[in-house]
Amino acid sequence: MRERYGLNAPLWKRYLIWISGFVRGNFGESFEYKREVDELIWDRIAFTLIISVGSLIFTYVIAIPLGIYSATHQYKWSDHFLTFLSFVGMSIPAFLLALSLMVFAFDIFGVPLFGLFSAYYEGAPWTWGKLGDLFKHLWIPVIVVGINGTASLMRIMRGNLLDVLGQPFVQTARAKGLKEIVVVGKHAVRIAINPLISILGMSLPGILSGSAIVSIVLGLPTVGPILLRSLLNEDIYLAGTLIMMLSLLLVIGNLLADIALAWVDPRIRYE
């Protein structure tokens, strides 16, 4: 048995063998599932990506308008309320939110929103119906994973915009008699939004972490649950591959964020 999996060699040699296989696309064999790791992970990685990208979009779409609103209504009660809300949002652990939403949804709809598909579509081939079913289940994990990021991003957007609003060119724009909505929307927000794109790369680890733990609670077929299982069962090739893949995803994500930043901000391109 040990021989078959090559576990008798010293640690560094085993690692070298595994990593050289990894680059060639041979990830080893899972002890538990008795199958090639390769067969087990791809659709899980795909679902992880769907959820992560979904929550990323959710985060930005919600956080930016709220941040702008908060900054333009500084120290009004609505700003205080949003500030408090964002503190709560930053503080609530994702798994707890997932649990409570689940219980809540069970109370209202009477069906557990477990997993990503209803029993009817589980294992069925891809159809439009299945896709619709996926979206019906997707919103809980997307919101839960996105909420922490939304809260902190909103604070950052608020801070950035407040900084920009204090600058002389905004005063000039106002002095020209531009409408407030033009001043904010056309002059200030454009500048204030820039750092958010570079944060995009930094928020990826949080989102992947969040999706891992939320998936475990909600029983989603993503990387999280299988990673936990493989860690508890010391299924090293599977666990190693999964962690490696998550890190690769992050590096690619960071790269994309950098490219996006260069695309948006010409100052970076020409340096």
């Binding site: 503190f87 709560v88 930053m90 503080s91 609530i92 652990p93 798994f95 707890l96 649990l99 409570s100 689940m102 219980v103 069970f106 557990p112 477990f114 204090g166 930094m202 990826l204 680890p205 949080g206 992947l208 972490s209 969040g210 891992a212 733990i213 475990i216 609670v217 990387v223 999280g224 990673l227 936990l228 860690l231 508890l232 010391e234 666990a239 999964l242 962690i243 998550l246 890190s247 992050l250 590096v251 960071n254």
Partner: protein
């Protein structure tokens, strides 16, 4: 935003001009500004209270955290009543076996009253602030009949200190490496910065999970505890090191450091006497803001069964029981340990925010 001059005047105006006008130390200034932030002060006081309760949980908790009552499993929370003749009391419990699930279910026995005694002396002769001779479970019991209220108080010990110890470790690591990086620059700086970048690119929970799973199963509770703190701080020192480096870089070329160097001061002297003191306020702020992340990290790890292991208890360990929705629907009070987690984390965030505003001379 107010200008600094205005702020300075304001500060002068609040105290006796003879004793403190213009002579306040930086620390006193921070304290003054901090005191004005009501949320920050409330949060700080709340945290102090929580730490006090956690440290003296032996006294404040009505029961010991491992007191098992197999016949009182999953007792729902009992209401505290008050009457003039009996003082505080709880009703007794009646158990009925559910014909379907065959589980014992508990209801109030209106006949019985168990008075709550203050400064109660238990069978081992230990004193508790309040407890009762009869069963008194204010937040219900878990699957082994242990009092959830007491377990939350004991759990606070682990959950609330793990953040402190972890942050302390990352402060030590982060300040040393940050200073080295900023002070010497060159390839050392380059190397340390690249390491930080690599670390910050990891998704923390999966990595914590992997490291948590790698802790040997034979370890004792204390060893696990320190293992977890080390795991938590291993990823988090990077951010701190970055900030310290930035400060050190800024101060390195400043006149007072130049003067010290010209006067023949050694590296050690310059770093400890001139550079680090300028970073203190920064370090404290970042540390305060890092603690909630660590508390949540421990909670998440223990929740998954990869962190603190029973018989030691923490809020994450308590929440592990509430992991399944079916359990939660039957015994909803098991989610209660989430409340202190939330309160403490929010309080730390408010405190950190208030400290940051206080330490920033340009804040309003």
């Amino acid at each position: 935003m107010k200008s600094t001059i205005e702020t300075a005047e304001e500060i002068k105006g609040t105290g006796d001009p003879w004793t403190d006008g213009g002579q306040l130390s930086y620390r006193q200034l921070i304290w003054r500004r901090f005191r004005k932030n009501r949320m920050g002060v409330i949060a700080g006081a709340l945290l102090l209270l929580f730490y006090m309760l956690a440290i003296s949980a032996d006294f404040f908790a009505p029961y010991h955290y491992n007191e098992i009552n197999m016949r009182l499993r999953h007792v729902p929370p009992q209401r505290l009543h008050f009457s003039v003749s009996d003082g505080f009391y709880v009703h007794g419990l009646k158990s009925v076996r559910n014909p379907e699930s065959l589980e014992l279910e508990f209801t109030k026995d209106m006949e019985q009253r168990h008075p709550v005694e203050f400064l109660f002396k238990d069978a081992d002769g230990r004193r508790h602030l309040f407890s009762s001779a009869g069963p008194m479970f204010l937040l219900g019991t878990d699957r082994m009949g242990r009092d959830l209220f007491s377990r939350i108080m004991y759990g606070a010990r682990v959950s609330m200190t793990i953040g402190l110890v972890g942050v302390f470790l990352s402060i030590v690591l982060g300040s040393i490496l940050g200073t080295v990086s900023g002070y010497w620059g060159g390839w050392v700086d380059n190397l340390i910065q690249r390491i930080i970048e690599i670390l910050s690119a990891f998704p923390d929970i999966p990595l914590w999970m992997a490291l948590g799973a790698a802790l040997p199963p034979g370890w004792s509770s204390i060893q696990i505890y320190f293992g977890i703190t080390i795991i938590l701080s291993i990823i988090r020192w990077g951010g701190l090191a970055r900030q310290v480096r930035g400060k050190v870089l800024a101060y390195r070329e400043s006149d007072f450091v130049m003067a010290a160097r010209a006067a023949g001061a050694g590296h050690w002297h310059i770093i400890t006497k001139h550079l680090l003191p300028g970073c203190y306020s920064h370090i404290i702020v970042i540390a305060t803001l890092a603690i909630p992340g660590m508390i949540l990290g421990e909670t998440a790890l223990s929740f998954l069964g990869l962190g603190i292991r029973p018989p030691m208890t923490s809020w994450g360990v308590l929440l592990e029981e509430a992991q399944r929705v079916t359990v939660l629907l039957h015994y909803p009070w098991l989610i209660f340990p989430a409340v202190p987690v939330l309160v403490v984390v929010i309080a730390f965030n408010f405190l950190g925010d208030a400290l940051r505003d206080a330490a920033d001379p340009y804040s309003d």
